[in-house]
């Protein structure tokens, strides 16, 4: 009986396990292997040792693109955390019409990145775009938005926040609904105001969610691609060039398909992502420890 159950379980799990081995496990091993080879996207023609890594680290475009996404992460992640938390708190008040607003807010999350990029490019058009028209109406100077050296990356961040709020808002909303009601009622009885309740009850309970959303946003931000690929293609003057675009370019565009170099770049990017997530994890731990110490003192 027990044995038969094992067999059934293995049969049930076989399809996903097979797909996992073929499309995640083997590729992961292969990613490292390919980064040490000369690979033209069709054939592997020999080992080259650390040559691809040397090339990647001396490639100024690649290094600059790493700097760009780090800067982008610094703009995007705090903004997305703050905005999605704020929106989820608004929705959690459960006023009439909340379902309507929740549906409305969710639309950007299910919109095609390509389609959204077209529209945002049009909204941000320096000559006829709606945004500059509004700025002009308000008596403010027009902006170059995606075409400006200093405004391109913040513009990309703005669009990313627009499309990213919804997904994170739902995660925060689920966490907010998990806060025990007795806790909030007790605070009410003690005469705690809404703001103090938020700071002393909601925020501490939400901190694991905060950490989760933050980490996922960082991982996503460092792999920025679709949006930039369609809107700026890395311009102006390379300020929006991202590592994933560099990887894509080296591997698939141009006559020389440098799959080995691209693999090395993707391994480097993975290491950067792991380092950054590790760093933030320890940073939050440190913060918590400090807070505890402050309490004890």
């Amino acid at each position: 009986m027990q044995r038969r159950q094992y067999v059934t379980a293995y049969i049930f799990i076989a399809p996903v396990l097979l797909a996992f081995v073929i499309f995640i496990f083997i590729p992961l091993v292969m990613a490292v292997y390919l980064s040490f080879t000369k690979y033209n996207m069709a054939f592997v023609s020999g080992f080259v040792g650390f040559n691809n890594y040397k090339l990647a680290f001396t490639d100024t475009f690649f290094l600059k693109s790493l700097g760009n996404v780090l800067l982008f992460t610094l703009m995007y992640v705090p903004a997305i955390l703050l905005c999605s938390l704020l929106v989820s708190v608004l929705l959690n008040r459960k006023l009439p019409g909340t379902v309507f607003f929740r549906t409305l807010f969710y639309l950007p999350a299910i919109t095609s990145g390509v389609a959204a990029s077209f529209v945002w490019m049009w909204l941000m058009n320096p000559h006829y775009g709606l945004f500059n028209q509004i700025l002009e109406r308000l008596g403010l100077p027009a902006s170059l938005w995606l075409n400006g050296r200093f405004t391109a990356l913040p513009s990309i961040a703005l669009i990313s926040v627009w499309s990213g709020i919804a997904g994170n808002m739902l995660i925060f909303l689920a966490a907010l609904q998990g806060i025990p009601k007795e806790l909030l009622e007790a605070a009410d009885i003690d005469g705690c105001g809404g703001f103090r309740k938020f700071i002393f009850i909601t925020v501490p309970i939400l901190s694991p969610t905060f950490y989760f959303v933050g980490t996922m946003s960082i991982i996503g931000a460092l792999q920025l691609f679709d949006l930039v690929f369609v809107t700026t293609q890395g311009g102006p003057e390379g300020v929006t060039m991202t590592p994933v675009m560099q990887i894509f370019k080296s591997a698939f565009l141009g006559s020389e398909k440098a799959g080995g170099l691209a693999s090395a770049m993707s391994v480097i990017l993975m290491l950067v992502i792991i380092t950054v997530t590790f760093f933030t994890q320890n940073f939050t731990k440190l913060l918590r420890k400090r807070k505890k110490e402050a309490y004890i003192e």
């Binding site: 379980a9 049930f12 996903v16 073929i22 996207m41 389609a115 529209v119 028209q133 627009w162 691609f225």
Partner: protein
């Protein structure tokens, strides 16, 4: 007494401003979220010349459908829509089946290696997608015995330029397994035991008893899968080179490259791209399960 009343009215006034501020903020966020849709709709429904005449008006002076007609004239949109529908449909059903089977196994059975496999799956979520992009391409390119390849995967181009090449990597869907698992966990075990007593086999128990209990979860996850497959861009862009097999997202990108000044048709294209997804989402929403987060991740 009067003091009490004034305190009460003060509290009521405070609550009133609180509610109004909430609505004002909701409205502001709503405008920001909806503006791009509104603007693409407006631009797609008026003549191009009207869109670039300053100062631009918020609403079309005259509603026309020429932009939509021109779009269909410029490119064979029906073909791309059909391709996207086929790919989305197959990957949706295959994913739901595979993830339900896997999730059910994790939720209902004990088997040697369960914990190890579960933890490996869990760890794999942290792998950034970009690392897998090139080697997944290689796996598709060197897929043995298909597309002119020999048993070692040499000689041809494997699953490049096929729908299978677009769909297959998406089936390694660990998220989906966790998602389905958490719903199977909360289904009652005694029904399966009773059915086993009656001699029903495990597949019957799964398909006819348990799968029906998690229909809301299937709908919810189905909608998410639909969105993902319909909007997917980079992977089909890499795998499909033959224009006859291209998907909508990539075709629209190519269209934009060719006719970047054709604002009206371009916005019409964006609207057409969004409509099916919005329709599915809004219709399916009432079946939505609240539990969106992956509490199934907790072992």
């Amino acid at each position: 007494m009067s003091r009490n009343v004034s305190a009460k009215s003060k509290k009521r006034a405070l609550k009133f401003t609180n509610v109004s501020v909430t609505y004002l903020l909701l409205l502001a966020v709503g405008i920001f979220m909806f503006l791009p849709f509104f603007w693409s709709l407006v631009t797609s429904l008026r003549a191009n010349i009207e869109s670039i005449t300053l100062p631009v008006s918020l609403f079309p002076k005259k509603i026309i459908w020429d932009n939509y007609a021109n779009l269909f004239k410029d490119i064979d949109l029906t073909k791309y829509i059909l391709n996207t529908v086929i790919i989305t449909g197959i990957s949706l059903f295959a994913n739901l089946l595979i993830c339900s089977l896997g999730g059910y196994a994790f939720a209902k059975f004990n088997f040697p290696g369960k914990k190890i496999i579960f933890n490996i799956f869990l760890a794999s979520i942290m792998i950034p997608g970009i690392v897998l992009l090139l080697p997944q391409f290689k796996v598709i390119y060197n897929f043995p015995l298909l597309g002119g390849n020999d048993i070692l995967g040499q000689g041809g181009t494997g699953l490049i330029d096929t729908f299978a090449g677009v769909i297959l990597p998406g089936l390694a869907n660990v998220y989906g397994v966790f998602f389905m698992k958490q719903f199977f966990v909360s289904t009652p075990p005694d029904i399966a035991e009773a059915a086993r007593m009656d001699g029903a086999n495990e597949f019957k128990i799964f398909f006819f008893l348990y799968l029906r209990m998690v229909v809301p979860a299937l709908v919810t996850y189905g909608i998410l899968l639909f969105n993902g497959a319909w909007n997917s861009f980079l992977w089909p862009y890499i795998i499909i080179q033959d224009d006859a097999k291209q998907v909508l997202a990539v075709a629209l990108r190519e269209y934009q490259m060719m006719y970047s000044d054709n604002l009206g048709p371009l916005m019409a294209a964006s609207i057409i791209m969004c409509l099916p997804v919005f329709a599915v989402f809004i219709i399916g929403q009432r079946y939505f399960v609240d539990n969106f987060t992956f509490s199934g991740l907790k072992g």
